[in-house]
Structures are given as C-alpha cells and as structure tokens.
Subunit: 383 residues, 2 copies
C-alpha cells in the first residue's frame, strides 16, 4: 500500500524529548515500512525515518529562534506539499487535524485523520457538522464524547516503544511525574500526594515555553510561577528537566508509581502505557482516557480526588509489576497499533472505488470527490 503519513512539524519524528504525536507517528511509520508498505512521511526535515521523508520545513518549528508563534502558514505549507504529490498515494493518514479536511474532498484517495487533541473546544460543533463525511480515528472512546455523530471509523490506542521501555525493578522509592507543566496536568496535586505519602516526587518535565503571545503558554507560565514554584521551595521534590527515551526508561522503571493527576479530558495519556511497559503502576485521577488505559487494581488505581490518590499509594504493593508489563505488551505494542491502522486503511480502500478510473469515466472532479468516502452524499454541504 502506498501510504502518506502527515505529521506536525513542531518537533522531529521521532522527537528527541517531548512530543507525543510525533512519537506515535514515528512508531506507526516504522512499523508500516517493516510490514512492507511504501510509506512517505511528511515531517520536519530533521526527522529520522526508514520511510521516504518529505521535509515540511528544514528544522522542527519549536527549534526555530523566533518570536513568531503563529504556525498556520506551516500548516498550509505541509498541506501544499501533500497536494503536490497526492497522485503518489493510495491513502493519506493525516495527523494535522482539521485544516486537511477541505483537501480530503478533492484528494482522489481516502484521507483519514487521527485526532490527537481535545475536541471540546468552541467552533468544533460547526466544523463537524460540515465535515460529517471525513473519516476520523479517535485515540480513545472518551475523546469522541463532544462529537459522537462525527464519522468515527475506529478507536486506535497509541503504542509505546516496548523494547526501549523494559520492565524495571521499581526500587527507587519515589513517585514519578512525567509530562508538560500545565494547570490541567496537576503537578501541584502530585507534589502534595507525594509529600502526604512521605515519598520523594521526581519530576521529568520541560519548563513552560516563554511564547508571550500564546495564551496556553502564558497560562502554563502563570501556573508554574504562582502554584508550582512555591511548592518546590520545600524538600521532597526533585526537578529533572526533559527526559530522552533512555533516561525515561530508567526514570519510570525505578519509580514506585507514576502519578497522573489530570483534571482535563486528555484524549490519550501516552505516559500511562509507557509506565506500564516499565512495570510501573499508574495512580491517576478519573478523567479523559484514564479508565480506558488503566485497569483499576490491575495496572494501577483510578481515584476521584487527592485523598484517594494518597490512599492508593498504600495499596501499591498489591500491584504485580509483571502484569503491568504484560498488559502494555498486549494492548499498547507497536504491532498492535500498526495492525489496527492497517485494518482501518483496508476498510477505507475497500469502500473506495478506484478514483483514477472513475475519474476517467465520469470526467470530473465530482466523481473524484464522491469516491473519497461513502458518507459523501450525506454531507451537509451537498444537501
């Protein structure tokens, strides 16, 4: 199958440190190449892949030295490069969200989108009314909740690099926090839970970016300065900075547990299966994808508040670390994810008559459009 993978150009594929989406795209791309597909990866030029690389930009955007944080032109550039080569692919797998949807209507081959972000945002209701024909993959069932009637074709859980995240001993005597420092990720909760449990909290995290005009970055910075920083003045917290994959394995593998005290509908918390791969149970607050990833009492504990998390720390010895590893291998392996996406691709292609042939016979864009998805005729734009 000739497959295009369209990745965000924020960080390289795979990322050297932070970058969940790019990490998943890398795992999928390498798996698909291994399985014999002809894969073209649209990503930043400093990406490393065994697929054919089409650079969207020379260097990943987050490494550009600029005050500019309006990356929209780069979205257009990425989609423009894809548009120039659409005839080379049987199927396009888009990880760039909704700006690719208009193109999908004239692409001449199926364009399927995995949504990596949250969907409970303004204006997305109008968006998914318009694009009721565009095939979507959710990364958890919870992610679909704001738009249950969109054209969901599958839920495919993210995979983690199992061979780079071996079963660890869990003998470090600390709780681990790994991820962005944002109000909704709850580092302050993690610090308090560790303190109340008499355990050290080790924090592997990038400090908030100083992008002045980005409201999210501003909020992260305010949260760090006003909420987190005061808590760091007391002992019991160790700030480690961003972790690469090798350090991540050691960091997670020696932890007594990962604390994941989120307060937002995170579509897929990649660090949960990463911890499980290292045999490390997850202590999480009930939100977003958590109940789909963690099995309460088996691979960690799902709690409703801070007190629940403190209580759960005492029950950690009940968790079998080898069972955590086994569940990660069963549910979150690269092969499992790649096989799931292969099924999605095959189903979409089976529903799609050969666009080029039908284009010849009926002579027009309309025929090319129609083949994109069978939901086409139900699109609001056609009514």
């Amino acid at each position: 199958m000739r497959i295009a993978q369209l990745a965000p150009p924020f960080v390289p594929v795979p990322p050297t440190t932070y970058g969940g989406t790019e990490r998943v795209v890398s795992i999928l791309t390498e798996q698909l190449v291994e399985r014999g597909h002809d894969v073209t990866l649209f990503a930043s030029g400093d990406s490393v892949t065994s697929a054919r690389l089409v650079p969207i930009v020379e260097r990943a955007l987050w490494y550009h030295e600029t005050d500019n944080n309006d990356f929209t032109p780069f979205w257009a550039i990425a989609l423009g490069k894809l548009a120039s080569r659409l005839n080379e692919f049987d199927l396009v797998h888009n990880h760039l969200d909704f700006l690719a949807y208009p193109l999908s209507r004239v692409a001449g081959c199926p364009l399927v989108t995995t949504l990596h972000g949250r969907l409970d945002l303004p204006a997305l209701t109008e968006l998914y009314q318009e694009f009721a024909d565009v095939p979507l993959v959710s990364v958890s069932n919870a992610q679909r909740e704001p738009h249950p009637d969109a054209n969901w074709v599958a839920t495919v859980y993210h995979a983690v690099e199992l061979d780079q995240l071996p079963l660890g001993p869990g003998d470090g005597g600390y709780l681990a926090y790994l991820g962005r420092i944002s109000p909704e990720k709850g580092l302050d909760v993690a610090i308090r839970v560790a303190r109340r449990s008499g355990l050290l909290l080790k924090v592997a995290a990038r400090l908030p970016l100083p992008h002045e005009n980005d409201p999210n970055a501003q909020a992260d910075r305010v949260y760090f300065d006003n909420v987190v920083q005061p808590l760091l003045d007391c002992p019991g917290v160790e700030l480690l900075g961003e972790s690469d994959t090798r350090r991540r394995a050691a960091f997670l593998g020696r932890a007594a547990a990962l604390v994941f005290p989120i307060s937002w509908p995170e579509p897929f918390g990649l660090v949960m299966p990463e911890a499980m791969a290292c045999g490390t149970p997850v202590l999480a607050l009930r939100a977003g994808s958590v109940p789909e990833i963690v099995e309460d009492g088996l691979t960690g504990f799902i709690c409703d508040d801070e007190d629940g998390l403190v209580d759960a720390v005492r029950h950690l010895p009940e968790i079998d670390r080898r069972r955590c590893r086994a569940e990660a291998e069963r549910r979150f392996s690269p092969a499992t994810m790649a096989a799931a996406y292969e099924q999605v691709y095959t189903r979409l292609l089976a529903r799609t008559p050969d666009a080029r042939v039908s284009g010849q016979h009926s002579g027009g864009i309309r025929a090319l459009d129609r083949t994109t998805t069978p939901e086409w005729s139900g699109s609001p734009a056609r009514r």
Copy 2:
C-alpha cells in the same frame, strides 16, 4: 463565466458598517453579475447579493456572542464548502488568504487569490517559496514589496461605491478621520494635526474590540486607553462611532480633508478613494499604498511627518474638489475594478487547458494539478 467568490465570513457582504474586504467583494460580485457572469458567493449567511449565496456560517462571525476568537475552524468550513462544489466553477476567486493555496493544487480550475492583508509577517517567506505557483493579485504595488518573486498576475485597485459617495460641498470646516483605532492608523497624530490647525476633528470609528486573547485587539485597546483617551479630554475632537454608507457620504463630503496619518505599510487604504469620490482631498503620511492612490498636489498631499501635515492643511484651498471626484471616477470605479478582474480571469483561463478533458485523457490527479497554473512545474515542491 462561472465564478466563485470566496469572502471572509467576519461581517456580511456587503458590510453594514466596518469591513473593507467584504465591501470590495460585494462591489465586485454585483458588477460581475451585472456583466452577465454566473457568480456564486461564499460568505456569511446574512449577506445580501444578487449572486447565488452559499452561506459559510448562518451569521457573520463578528456578530457571534462568544469569547472564542480562534476562527480557524471557519476557514476550514469555508474551504470545505468550496471543495464540495469545485466542479460547478470555471474559476475561483479567493479572498481568504493562504489557507486556500493547498486546495488550488487539486482544484481542477484556476484559483486566484486577492491578498487583502499586509505581507511583511513572519513565516510568509517560507510560504511563498512553497506556493510560487499560486496566482496572486495585489491591491497595490507596494503590497508586493516583501515578496517580489511570488506569482503576481496583476495589481487591481479596490473600487468604491461612487453612486453612494456623491461629490460633497466640503463646507463642514472640520477634518475627518475614518477607520479602525489602532496604533498604526495614527488617530493621535490626526488629533494633534487638527488641534495645531485650529480645526475640529470628527472621528468616525469603531472602538477597539474587547477580544482578550487576540494580541492585535489587545494592542488596539492599550493604544486607545493610554494614547487616544487622554487626547479626547480636551475640546476639538468629536467621536461619532461607526458610520454606515449614507452617513459616511455626508461625513466625508462635508469635510475639508480626510486625515490619513498611517505609520504602517497598509496595502490599500479604502477610505482614501472614498474621500476622493466625495471630492474631499486626502492628507496622508507616506506609507504603503498612499503614493499610488493619492496624487500629491492633485487629490491631496503626501507628507513625511506631522509638521508636514499641519503645513498641508494651509494648502488645502489649492485642491479642486471636482478633480478629486473625477480621479475617483476614473481610477476607482466598480466598472474599472470589475474590468480589471475580468482580464485577470480571462488570462488565467486562457493559460489553462480544460481540466476535465485533460483529467479524462491522462487519468489522474496529476493531470488536474498541472492545469492549475503554468508555473506549476517550477513549484519548489516538484523539484
């Protein structure tokens, strides 16, 4: 000719008050219909047109009661609606800027873009390197300056509604300011020029919008509060609020002059030909399109600083108001603009083999792509 006009959905077409782009799209659309073309207008649903209207949204976005100011999803909706109907048009005229460029590569008919905004912004260099094949219309020659090597196919000056802006007497004894209140539009300069000249300044302007997360709106608000408001406490300035077309004609027609003290490369200052249509000379600072629109000594004065503007006020009696009107009629009439765009369309279509036919023969998207513009083979993406 079957023409699609793609307007921004911020305000209705035509706008009831503020909205230069939507006003120009309205004038062009009505002219094209009058000239016998089959025109489809993609715009907000509260637009009024004699063309076929395809609503992008029910109500114009600026009239939505929401804190949301990320309008990107509506760009995708607009382009999605266009993509659904591409087979219905011989040519698409895009006023939505660069997010339409990827679509232009698979549209199967020419897609020409009139750029309404400034082009000296970050990331646009990479953008126009990628989209060197996309045909562009500039609204002034000055606008092209940051990207001289882009695929410019014409400069077409905006038209004004001459019949709604009749020659006025200029007997009001005041200077007029009309437009947004932004630092780069120089209302503070206008106030000081009027004061130093012993003339009343009448200001027809919308107060800055309270969109908290939009850095431009924030800057406008800060400028208004800190720079303009203190100047309003003294007499000699009259704040009138936004003007509709009828009130605009009276407001401009009775003014001794329009003050246009901009300090930014404004691509096309629509209020300049509006004033000229009313017989009112323009006192402008030298920036952006000013030297292309105003003829120094004939339809106003082009100055280099505030002192120059004060000096120019004394020379206003040298300007013949009927000559201002005549120049507006000659250069900025709806018929002049529509004829210029017709030429652009005809030239682009002449260079474009029938996409549908060539698509049938060579059987593919590639063939459809290639017909979009003759510059195609030089596109960086193809190298």
